[in-house]
């Protein structure tokens, strides 16, 4: 019974915690710009994150090795350092985008200034990170993030042509660069590397063992899978509300407005709350991910499980990354643009992040009977191939489409 409850709670938290600023921006922009035709990219990205999350959780539980310990073991010193530098840059950019998003969302409620609310948002998530246990953080931010289900309800209420929606799940041959830009963006938004850094290290923080294999598998499959449903809902609702009006969502406010159309003020407020908690949770995840990566690469003691004061270098790096991200946002840079850069340029780093997980999960001498079976191995290497292609295509499409414009 306790295991069932643990799985249920984890799954619910994962649903609400899957969507971050990258998913919100790319799904809404894709719907507004190219409509249903790119829907198929969402399940492709979601299946990818399920495959690699499940694998990294399994490696964490059995080999007790988080992502950047694997990077250091499997790569030479130079490549490991390069991977660390690239991942830190992108994770801190993502952290800055999430923090900026918090500032904008809080300002929609209270109208003081974005800069002020970025500071308030930072203090709030820092307090949650310091004073709450991980389970509590995941549940509060995940459950409140479930308010994003308003987009799913709105999608039904707006009465789409379901045959057109269904057609969107069938990939098309297209010559349009903007179409492929959004395909790559949607897959990249689902596969953001910090999610794997956090999932893998989180498994070790929570003391996962062989007995937690089912929790890991179900969290990854059902949690990320249903999180993908939220992404589809945002894309569908944006197609119905924004596309006919030629509105390009350049702000989180525009995304929230989508829920106002069918449900008035209540829809708007529920959407803003869902976005606030989803992005708040992602802010904590990205902050910890950056600190995990650095500490694991340097061989420091890391994590929250033994108390942050007992791991001073890890804690200091967490504070430093938060302050760097805060400084980036205070320059006035638009968090939506920052998100687009972070999502697209995360693609070239993905192969370097995912290869060590794949190699270790395949290693029968280390993983014993929990090594990749035929399905996991086939999916893992197929996705690795897809990621390598997208790693090259993403920056080219970004340039060719003027950043999706």
């Amino acid at each position: 019974m306790k295991t069932v409850l643990k799985i249920a709670l984890g799954v619910i938290a994962a649903i609400g915690g899957f969507v971050d600023i990258g998913d919100l921006v790319f799904n809404a922009q894709a719907g507004a710009t190219v409509g249903y035709s790119v829907l198929w990219a969402v399940p492709v990205g979601v299946l990818g994150i399920i495959v690699f999350a499940e694998m990294s959780g399994r490696v964490a539980a059995i080999a007790k090795k988080p992502n950047f310990v694997l990077v250091k073991e499997r790569y030479g010193s130079d490549l490991a350092t390069f991977t660390l530098a690239a991942s830190l840059l992108l994770t801190v950019l993502t952290l800055a985008a999430e923090l900026g998003g918090l500032g904008f969302l809080l300002n929609y409620f209270f109208d003081v200034s974005v800069g002020f609310f970025v500071l308030i948002g930072l203090i709030a998530v820092a307090a949650a990170a310091v004073f709450m246990p991980f389970g509590g953080i995941e549940r509060i931010f995940g459950y409140m993030g479930l308010a994003l289900l308003v987009f799913a309800v709105a999608s039904f209420n707006l009465d789409p042509h379901w045959s057109d929606v269904g057609q969107g799940f069938v990939p098309e041959v297209h010559s349009s660069a903007i179409y492929w830009y959004f395909v790559v963006g949607l897959i990249a938004a689902a596969l953001m590397p910090y999610e794997i850094y956090f999932y893998s290290s989180g498994g070790i923080e929570e003391g996962w063992t062989e007995r937690d294999m089912n929790v890991n598998r179900l969290n990854a499959i059902i949690g990320f899978g249903l999180g993908g449903v939220l992404s589809v809902a945002i894309l569908v609702a944006s197609t119905l509300v924004l596309r006919p009006q030629s509105i390009t969502p350049d702000s989180l406010g525009t995304v929230a407005l989508v829920a106002q159309i069918p449900y008035g003020e209540l829809g708007l407020v529920v959407a803003l709350i869902g976005m606030l908690f989803a992005i708040g949770g992602a802010t904590i995840d990205t902050g910890f991910s950056a600190a995990y990566n650095l500490a694991q690469h340097q061989g420091w003691k890391w994590g929250k499980r033994n108390g942050l004061p007992n791991e001073p270098r890890f804690t200091l790096s967490l504070v430093a990354f938060a302050l760097i991200a805060f400084a980036v946002v205070q320059t006035g840079i638009d968090p939506v643009s920052l998100t687009e850069y972070a999502v697209i340029f995360s693609m070239p780093v993905l192969p370097l992040t995912y290869l060590p997980i794949l190699l270790v999960a395949d290693d029968r001498s280390l993983m014993k009977e929990h090594a990749n079976g035929m399905i996991a191995r086939t999916l893992g290497w197929s996705y690795f191939g897809i990621i390598c292609v997208l790693a090259v295509a993403a920056p080219i499409l970004f340039t060719a489409t003027n950043g999706g414009g």
């Binding site: 409620f109 350049d250 702000s251 008035g264």
Partner: protein, 129 residues
């Protein structure tokens, strides 16, 4: 990466496709402003949201007007560019009314209609490029 970032949105003589993209922004701002204003007219939105979002849209429209004003254009595009600048100023002014009176449903209804007309004019300008 820095080079790629720098290559996006650089200035110089404005081309037809760049002017078209700027008009896209005007249309988008005007139509979103109209949706927000309609929410005020229907008493179905949140006042702080209306004020903040109207301000953001005004800033985005002003920024587009500044970019267009600063850009040089060849003779064929000059009059279209000036028309786009004029439209952006009008859209910005109307959005400003929404920002100032986010709780006035009567004024908001007029604002919504005005923004719709300006969006239509912007789309016509874009089609004629």
């Amino acid at each position: 990466m820095i080079a790629l970032i720098g290559s996006v949105g650089c200035g110089g003589d404005i081309r037809s496709d760049e002017l078209s993209r700027s008009i896209d922004t005007l249309v988008s701002s005007a139509r979103e402003g109209a949706l927000i204003a309609q929410g005020v007219a229907d008493d179905g939105t949140k006042t702080t949201f209306v004020r903040v979002r109207a301000r953001e849209l005004t800033e985005a429209t002003d920024h587009e007007a500044e970019k267009l004003s600063d850009a040089s254009a060849d003779q064929a595009l000059e009059s279209d560019k000036k028309a786009a600048v004029a439209l952006s100023s009008q859209i910005s002014d109307v959005l400003g009314q929404l920002q100032v009176s986010p709780m006035d449903p009567v004024s908001a209804s007029k604002v919504a209609k005005h923004l719709e007309r300006l969006a239509d004019k912007s789309e016509k300008l874009q089609r004629d490029l």
